[in-house]
Symmetry: C3
């Protein structure tokens, strides 16, 4: 079965809620990175109205999950529901193809490694 990687960039204070939503649907592994970024508002108006000409980076959290195509729609739905505040800066979900997964300890491969 095809494997994919979700990369979700979310508001840092939403991490716990998103993690819980994902474990509830059976996601058994994920990786988190502290990042910074900007979207269409160029980082301004999310916090304060900055100069029109500067672009500010705001702290965000990136969640990465490698999963099967079967669970992918449920996982994106769980992220959308748990990460959304309705205000700008709620973040993005990107999906990338994955050609192989290996559990290092057991050398299991593919969906058995997820």
């Amino acid at each position: 079965m095809a494997l994919y990687k979700i990369e979700a960039i979310i508001k840092p204070f939403k991490l716990e809620e998103v993690k819980e939503a994902l474990t509830e649907i059976g996601i058994a592994g994920l990786t988190v990175t502290e990042v910074k970024g900007f979207g269409r508002q160029k980082g301004h108006t999310e916090i304060y109205r900055g100069s029109e000409y500067t672009v500010d980076f705001l702290p965000k959290v990136k969640i990465e999950i490698v999963l099967t195509e079967e669970i992918l729609p449920k996982a994106t739905e769980a992220i959308i529901k748990s990460a959304k505040t309705g205000k700008i800066g709620d973040g993005k979900i990107f999906v990338l193809p994955v050609t192989e997964a290996i559990r290092i300890r057991t050398e299991e491969k593919g969906e058995n490694a997820i």
Copy 2:
């Protein structure tokens, strides 16, 4: 329209210049991570001539941009021009396929989510 992700590893002091070059061509979102790495010189001669037998990690910045295939050539060109010093260690640009993008706040998908 097909979506791609650029991952560019650059010299940290070039971040502002690259960000400006990308916003000038209309890139409306990107994510930055602090990383460390080495290339063909194994981290040595970029700063000083280290032992031939050790490999050192140097601090770098990773920029990630999800974009349409239409803007991809312009974006790689903007990164090359703004990140290049002509000295070793200027970094790399990698391009990966992306199968979906979602704006969490609005649930817009595909190129409308970029």
Copy 3:
């Protein structure tokens, strides 16, 4: 020749050993990120037996290597051998397709940029 990216999530104390195993087979570039994550044990029993209902993030290191399909099997083998302790939490290897690589300094492309 097709390009791929390995993303390996390993135990932090294994970084040096994995780096050496990879340089020994000729890998001439990689990028490292400090991350945190959990796998099937939800972060508990790797260190102590936590509450059944909480999920804990443990510090991990992510290694990214863009390489040709030719060297890919050797590289995954080198990572498995050098990263494995045989205990839970040894980590994962994921492989993703890469459509382009560019060395910024020289503008070389594809496998010449690796």
